[in-house]
Symmetry: C2
Subunit: 176 residues, 2 copies
């Protein structure tokens, strides 16, 4: 069974952030609507993210995750993680499939995969089985792309697609 789950907002032209990382184009929150985020987080055993996403989240001040987090980085070490987070944050520099095997041994069934480069590498490695896109009605023209090159095409199955009053379309795909 598939391991990785992606849940991310993207522009109609496929960017997850502007070139400078800005998310200023995301719509204002829709009255109590989380587009399925909480349910998705409930369904995973932890989160795998890249260093850049990790540092952005650290910058929020308050750590928002109650589940274990693995930060993928070639430069960070466990010592770089603030002491208050060492119980829940570990650093890893192994390839996606190796990490998935290790986490499965530890009992993880699913992980939420976050951050552009991390998402692309997990999709490329065939380790993403569920992809929920929150499509924002804007063309950015440039930015950080959600998708990248693949060794071969991946056929998807659409589980649902929901159209919100603010023009956002949330679509869940599964890799076949």
């Amino acid at each position: 069974m598939g391991f990785g789950k992606v849940f991310i907002a993207t522009s109609v032209d496929g960017f997850i952030a502007r070139d400078n990382g800005s998310l200023d184009w995301l719509p204002a929150p829709l009255d109590g609507e989380d587009y399925g985020y909480a349910a998705l987080m409930d369904s995973v055993d932890g989160i795998i993210m890249g260093r850049s996403t990790y540092e952005t989240v650290l910058g929020f001040g308050e750590w928002p995750f109650s589940k274990p987090v693995v930060v993928l980085s070639r430069t960070l070490t466990a010592a770089d993680v603030p002491e208050a987070l060492r119980k829940s944050v570990q650093v890893s520099n192994v390839a996606p499939s190796t990490l998935v095997a290790t986490l499965r041994e530890q009992g993880w069934k699913h992980a939420y995969i976050d951050g552009g480069q991390t998402i692309r590498s997990f999709i490329e490695a065939g380790e993403v089985s569920e992809l929920t896109l929150t499509r924002i009605p804007i063309l950015l023209g440039s930015g950080i792309p959600l998708f990248g090159p693949l060794p071969e095409s991946i056929v998807l199955r659409c589980e649902y697609s929901k159209h919100y009053p603010n023009g956002v379309i949330s679509t869940r795909y599964h890799a076949l």
Copy 2:
């Protein structure tokens, strides 16, 4: 009022054809379903397409369009158009906005814009007001992209989004 209308199938990762132009990833026709294509064609006065799309269509053998067609090309001339098509096909090498002004003088209110490069240049020039995407449930990994760089972001309004039993999602956007 906006002039150009785009109606095109795209993969989830934003490609309209494989690198070699192949459309082998498009789904089999869905029982009598055209995803709104005929209604869209009814709503335009003609079609503007690039040379590459024109040559692909010529290769079909039978010319499928009953409305006037403008082929954008820097290399073709009117003499290159087969005699049987000269009444309905004209060649132009002017910029999108110049062409739109000329066609408006001739009474055109809307044109269907087809072909990757032509679509990108018309969007970039601000000459596309309606964008109907038929999103096919596949990640191609590479190919001919639908979207390109823009001078600035374009906010869209979603008119509708429809989810078909084969996983295709048809969404119509308007440029604000």
